[in-house]
């Protein structure tokens, strides 16, 4: 008989298995909904200090000179930028449901119910253009050197742009150039917080309080110091994210679920909501948390010398406004697309015209209930052709200088190519701005009673429900979402 060394090994192994396997099997715990958002964060490029990289590139005294210096190393960047919306202020041609052919839209030519349109007003509006010198219709969109790199990449905090996007006098372009890095909230916010003519006017969920927010204003930016590009993932200068306020398609969109698990709540009842209710509904309970946002703009009241001027109530050039703070959003179905009003479209003569009515309804499996800031305005339209007019306001001879509407529309006709009959009026419009920033900390998320109670936030009938779904159930939506589940399993 062999007395092999270590013939006890199989025995030990057997014992370990006989003890270990039953213990492991019977004491396993149920899996939980794992949410691993940090694993899904985009990786930022490592920062390269540009302090000494501009030696030998000459004195940089103008914007385009800086750009040329940038492009001398970053050869592809120019080409990349030329195709982006930040440069072109226009989308690629896309198909739009309900219309024939392909359409482009963008700030370049579209209309909104704030300052209405940029055409003819380029010099003041393009202070926010990622380029230099766009002050008329003949701007060269193929000239790489006109790209403004610094507006997004400057980290010195000293870079400011003026009319037509030209850097202001006194800005030290060299030190701005040397400071370049990944864009921060200051870069993006410099333009996006001030849309509509001033701080906090437009979006409601984007304003200067987000430069250095507390976690009570926005948990991502406040507690975790998220920069815009952490959610708005960018590759080759193509920045992720779309808003139906200006876009016609839903490509390259970003979502909470880019990082977060959709069914991450430990409470099943909450998870049951995510097929119908967008995350933002509960997690952005209010917008304009710290700084009031504009909710009404009545252009028809403009031009009155006798009224006292006040940025938050009345300005002669703009008309009358209402600002609100701590604003509760309004709720509509949205599947990510909208019926965007394009110049020349007929207005709604029997009520308010929605410039970007969200698409989707209770039967649409892709639609969710979304929170919106609805901006209501009274803006000029052509009473004969029944479409909205785009006046020249800040441009030469415009309304803000001469206070003559008729002249403003004629000048507008010249630049936009949309006929003006000579007769104008003012009509009600509304724009839907999705609320997705100013995400509250989870203890501030809405409770059941916020919607499911008398006086709750949801207008059930308007949303297509028979009544509060807690009491009435919702056969329609249940059927739609179970189709969704079935689709998931296919």
């Amino acid at each position: 008989m062999k007395t092999k060394k270590r013939n006890w090994l199989p025995g030990v192994a057997a014992i370990l298995l006989l003890i270990g396997i039953p213990v492991w099997y019977f004491t396993g715990t149920a899996g939980s909904n794992l949410d691993t958002p940090w694993e899904n964060m985009p990786r930022r490029a490592a920062h390269v200090d540009h302090k000494s990289l501009f030696d030998g590139l000459g004195e940089l005294t103008t914007g385009p000179e800086v750009t040329a210096a940038c492009l001398s190393c970053h050869e592809d960047a120019g080409e990349q930028m030329l195709h982006t919306a930040h440069w072109k202020w226009e989308s690629e041609p896309v198909e739009v449901e309900g219309r024939e052919g392909l359409f482009t839209t963008g700030k370049k030519k579209s209309i909104n119910n704030f300052c209405i349109g940029i055409q003819g007003n380029w010099a003041s509006c393009t202070a926010c253009h990622a380029g230099y010198g766009w002050d008329d219709a003949d701007f060269d969109f193929e000239d790489e050197n006109k790209i403004d790199c610094l507006v997004c990449h400057d980290n010195s905090g000293t870079y400011r742009k003026g009319k037509a996007g030209i850097p202001l006098d006194g800005v030290d372009l060299m030190s701005a150039a040397k400071s370049v890095a990944v864009p921060t909230r200051e870069n993006c916010g410099g333009c996006h917080f001030r849309g509509g003519g001033g701080n906090a006017v437009k979006h409601g969920d984007l304003d200067e309080s987000l430069y250095y927010p507390t976690e009570g204003i926005d948990v991502h930016m406040g507690r975790y110091n998220f920069q815009c590009v952490d959610c708005h993932r960018t590759e080759n200068h193509v920045i992720g994210g779309r808003s139906t306020t200006v876009s016609l398609d839903n490509e390259n969109q970003i979502a909470c679920t880019d990082c977060h698990n959709q069914k991450l709540h430990s409470d099943d009842r909450l998870n049951a909501h995510t097929d119908t209710v967008a995350c933002q509904v509960c997690h952005v309970p209010e917008i304009a948390v710290k700084q009031a946002t504009k909710t009404h703009w009545d252009w028809s009241k403009a031009g009155d010398d006798s009224r006292e001027e006040d940025t938050h109530h009345y300005l002669k050039i703009k008309g009358e406004f209402i600002y609100e703070k701590g604003l509760k959003p309004e709720y509509r179905w949205s599947n990510g697309l909208a019926d965007r009003y394009l110049m020349g479209d007929q207005i709604n003569t029997s009520g308010s015209t929605a410039l970007n009515a969200p698409r989707g309804d209770i039967r649409d499996p892709n639609a969710r209930i979304w929170p919106f800031k609805i901006h209501r305005a009274k803006q000029p339209y052509d009473t004969e052709y029944n479409y909205l007019l785009q006046p020249v306001t800040s441009g030469e001879g415009g309304y803000w200088l001469d206070f003559e509407w008729d002249k403003a529309f004629r000048l507008g006709e010249e630049v936009s190519g949309t006929r003006y009959s000579g007769n104008y009026g003012f009509t009600d419009t509304e724009m839907f701005w999705p609320s997705t920033h100013m995400v509250a900390t989870k203890d501030k998320a809405l409770q059941c009673q916020a919607c499911h109670s008398e006086g709750g936030r949801m207008d059930w009938a308007a949303l297509g429900y028979d009544g509060d779904p807690i009491l009435q159930g919702s056969v329609t939506r249940r059927r739609t979402t179970s189709d969704l589940e079935a689709a998931d399993h296919e």
């Binding site: 008989m1 007395t3 013939n7 006890w8 025995g11 057997a14 014992i15 006989l18 003890i19 039953p22 213990v23 019977f26 004491t27 715990t29 149920a30 430990s266 409470d267 009842r269 989870k442 203890d443 409770q447 059941c448 009673q449 916020a450 499911h452 109670s453 008398e454 006086g455 807690i470």
Partner: protein, 862 residues
Amino acid sequence: MNKTNKTMKISLFGGFLSLALSLSAVANGLHPEVPILDSQGNPVVESGLPMSTMTSCGGDCHETTYIMSHSDHADAGASQVGRVRTTHDWMQGPGFFGGWDPVAYDTDGLLPSGDMDHEAWLKRYGSRHVGGGPVAGLVEMDCLLCHTNISDHSARATALKAGDFAWANSASLSSLGILVKEDGQWVWDASKFQVNGTLQTGLLDIRKATDENCSLCHGIAESNLDYPLTITADLDSRHNTDRNGQIISPQKLLNSGLNISGKEELNYPFDVHTDRVVGCVNCHYSLNNPVFFKQREESRPAHLDFDPRRLSNADYLVRPLHQFAKGQSSLGLAAADTRNSMRRCESCHSAEKVHDWLPYKQRHFTSLACESCHIPKLFGPGLQSVDWTMLDSDAQPLRRYRNVQGDPTAVDSLIEGFRPLILPRANADGDFRLAPFNLVTAWYWTSGDPVVPVSREQLEKALFINGDFHPDIIAALDKNGDGQLSGDELRLNDELSVNAVKTRLAASGLSELNIRGDITPFSINHNVVNGQRATRECSTCHDRDSILAAAFTLSDYSPGDTQPQKISYAGVEFSGELINGSGGGISFIPNVRSAGFYIIGLSGESWADLVGLLMFMGVVLGVSGHAIARYVSSRRRGPVERQYERVHMYDAYERLWHWLQASAIMLLLFTGLVIHKPHFFGIFSFPYVVNVHNVLGFTLLINAALALFYNLASGEIRQYLPNPKGFIHRSLAQAMYYSQGIFAGKAHPLEKSKDNKLNPLQQITYLAILNILLPAQIITGILIWGLQRWPHIAAELGGLPILALVHTLVAWAFATFIVMHIYLTTTGHSPTAGIKSMVGGWDNVEKHVGDPVSDGPQGESK
């Protein structure tokens, strides 16, 4: 002072009212406009008489006489008067009418003759009674209280207090301006009425009771998320919250207006059901409501899960029972007929499905009420003690709130929240389960024969003169000499103060004065928290510091050194004892063991551990001594020559089952120790260790069973059975060897061979182990594990107290055995030979040449 509170309350309510009114336009609107009639049937706007709810709401639509006679709220325990034994002799009934509550105290209405003074009772308690029932002759049952959106009924309370019973119910309408007071007279405002005597449309919303209606009497129920909740100064409307600390609100604690310690962490609502839009009437429904009606289990035939037959809505609306589904709290209305008519947690929730993380969940469900774990802490101001032996300068008793520093209505009083006391409470099926309670201790004077409590008026008369304290009282109680009585000075905790008050009371003509203390348990059923926040930590109960044995403060002092008595209500086991702390405080130490609850990790018999430890340590010392002696003697003696033969002693299977057994037993002993004394092993997860112990127990059982089978089938079992011939002789020889021979280097008496492995002493030991100890351990183990499945078998054998005791003792025996066993393996030809042979199978056996003692079954004697 009361006036300002009222004004504040009115203005607050006015605000809420306008909110409610604006909402009411959206609400129900289904109820038809009905004329407001007086008791003669004429519209009040014509007759100018008070509104009669019985007539207005009655007639063709709702049978009001039926409703009133089937209403627990109206009856208020009146039907129980004189028929049920009460806790105190001066009480006439157990309920609100005819009863006496040591916390609210007033004896108004209780007459010594045994009758009730209805008017006196109404004046004091009417604002918290719906009218009708025993006082139907004075105040009708008031539908407006529960079925309208009127939130301000202060005018009704005022009218009742003043004795204006006729107009009391109508007075509520004054908050809507429908009734106005002109020159001290109530006058109907005709502009609020339509021609036919109905009210203007939209003025009054008539609908089913909402949480707001219930909260008028039943405690704080602020359902608005936007207005931070605060505590009202009006004691009457805090009645329930005072007694059990419950605040029924969907507001998150951190959003409330209460000054709660550590509030920022408390990101959950006061009551999770209210948060989930469950209203009071969803659980406390009218018993014949066709929506909720469910046949009682006892009367449901076995084959029928659900009886769809229903009362029609029309029939229900005409004759709705106003007896509501309720649990079995014996306090308050004393509605005995409808006790336990309410479906409990398990009617809606399936605890089975979501407690997978909980070991022995069935056992927990049969021993604990859901509330024990799901109401872990209360943040409302609940009373700890009420001292009616003395009044403060506002003629209020000394109220002490549990874990609240100062007056709870003051915005800067810090609220710590309290953990309720867990006591056994009877369920509908008669079983006792541990459930949460708050104990309120009330001290009061009694006098006379038959004994009655000294009334509030008598106290005030005795203690005050011209609005100030009587000089005798001040003299005796004013400790710091400032001429005022405040704070602790008001406590009657010394002879001097007790006598001072006693003298004053006697001076008012009262005799036989004594101080009594009542400890009343108040059941806690609301303020449930979400499962994630419920008690999940096993050591909360299964530990030396278990909350089931922790002291529950009753009072910081006891007036007149009186020992309070426990007022036990039917269905509450008040098991435990009172202990007096240093400094005069009294606490209650619960003893759930005496109520039949054995808690693993807490209830162990300490003597068993002592015996076991002694046994264990004894053996450890013994073998240590033996080993040292052997070593010393062998050094002295020098090596001994012996001949050895190499034998394959143990088969593979034998070794496998031996080591599996050994590993399992060692791990079982270790995990068992962690379970037995969780306090010392806090580093381990108690539930995980319990699960591991159970798994290993079964592994052991299967292993032992298979080994038994093997031994029987192969005949190896013969080795374990001693040969009776010369057994005692051989045993003694073996014993002699171990006590003497081994030191002298003598040969081992047994010639060990494959067919004869066990010496006589071993045979005895294994006989005991394998036939007594191991079976005992396995059986007690299985029964402890199977407490959930076969509770009756376990109960037959004495339940956990016996099973756990035996299991513990045998565990110590096994631990002791292992020490002995391992040591004895070193008595082979070398210290490690024994172990090596059990691992590898080969053994070097001594060859006995000419040794007359080797006489085993197959031994050769040469």
